[in-house]
Assembly symmetry: C2
């Protein structure tokens, strides 16, 4: 029998300004004070990126003083996909001896542990789900903290169906495969009256928009949200026919979320 | 031509403790200060329920003094489904003269307007999407504010796939139809490796859990989150086979989110 873990795994939200030039927002713009206070007291972290996590913790320190110096915090990076233990598949039975189980060691020693990604909620459209699965397998209590999700901000702002929706990640990059996928999603959306949400690497935002405007039917509603929660954030939501007559250029350095609903 | 609206439509998050006996949390547990500050200054609201919105604004007032007395705020309720204008279908072309357009009148007069539901984010698993669609149709800027979503907190805490997921709302109540739907969702989940999220009226939580444990395959992963963001919130995530050997009773007055992923 293992010792019962007494530390918790906190899922820490991050702001959505990562990688957007000149867009740094006040932490209290998007994070509840409670999350900031927990971030300030955690001594152990598992992070998508250690460097950006240190930058996040400096911003936390400006609101709520860190319980210990930044230099003395333990920040371990998540295994990268393809380098062992980082496949996108949830492990069937994570064990304390595998890469994920090892990351949870601080909780066995009674320390709370934070999981954080570069933007938004960890384990959603971002790495970390395997660590959460490993925590459940080992009896570590998982505590998700409230914070911004670009996907749900975009969905709320779209005016599309929020009673049934799906997030499908990235579409294929290659033209014909992408067009096939777009039409498949439109059929899915119509059949289930389900809003389909997708994302794209910012420099391909415009290419995805053009492909959507080309492939979708005129009556399908299309919503694009750029840089939500940032100062220049916006949402534009209209039918494909309306988009075609009133084109709108997308920025190539700001993350966007695309949503469609076929009538 | 209409006058261009100069007021914005803010999508205001609410806490997740609505209707849970004795569970009232501190507002700063889940809402960013920015959202609380905006709530404190808005004079015009469209709400799922005016009474609970007043209760919310009293809690706001305790953190950030309201800009005007609670009694002088304009709080209008959303049209109820089935009583005209409240169908779940997004209107094809909302006009300023329909029920939704009329609710936006304050923005035409230059006032910012808040949209709020009884818990979580408006327009997601809650009413309000038609008002957002009407805002887009009339050129009213839509600004979603960061806050808690029980769906995304549950997804992050599940350890299931967060790269592809769907929210499907409520399952049928009647036994055979519910079982058909459960098996349909399991097949969908397996085919697309997509986590399927659903909700239930709290007093039926236990019945849905039993139906899921009966209908799903032993290897399917099932996660249940109860009362997330509340003091007694928890997530339990395991295979159906594990759930069957270690039963866990669900509370009948606390909202739960169910998630499944079939291997």
């Amino acid at each position: 029998m293992n010792k019962t873990p007494t530390g918790k795994l906190y899922l820490m939200p991050n702001t959505l300004d990562f990688g957007v030039p000149g867009a740094e927002v006040d932490l209290q713009q998007v994070l509840p004070l409670h999350a900031i206070q927990i971030a300030a007291r955690l001594g152990h972290w598992v992070a998508e990126n250690a460097k950006t996590t240190r930058a996040f913790l400096k911003r936390v320190d400006a609101v709520q003083a860190l319980a210990q110096p930044l230099q003395s915090l333990q920040i371990v990076e998540l295994p990268r996909p393809g380098k062992g233990g980082g496949s996108s598949k949830t492990p069937a039975s994570p064990s304390p001896t595998d890469a994920w189980g090892a990351l949870l060691a601080p909780t066995l020693a009674g320390h709370d542990l934070g999981l954080i990604s570069e933007a938004g909620l960890p384990a959603i459209a971002d790495p970390g789900a395997q660590l959460v699965a490993a925590a459940h397998a080992q009896g570590v209590e998982v505590v998700p903290l409230s914070g911004p999700s670009s996907l749900l901000l975009a969905l709320a702002a779209s005016g599309l169906n929020g009673q049934s929706f799906a997030f499908v990640g990235y579409l294929p990059v290659e033209g014909p495969a992408r067009m096939t996928r777009i039409r498949e999603l439109e059929v899915l959306s119509q059949k289930a009256q389900q809003t389909q949400l997708m994302i794209e690497t910012p420099y391909r935002n415009e290419a995805l928009l053009q492909a959507l405007l080309q492939g979708l039917r005129p009556t399908t509603r299309l919503s694009v949200s750029c840089g939500l929660s940032l100062t220049q954030g916006w949402t534009h939501s209209a039918t494909v026919a309306q988009w075609r007559t009133q084109p709108r250029a997308l920025p190539d350095k700001v993350p966007a979320v695309f949503a469609l609903l076929a009538p």
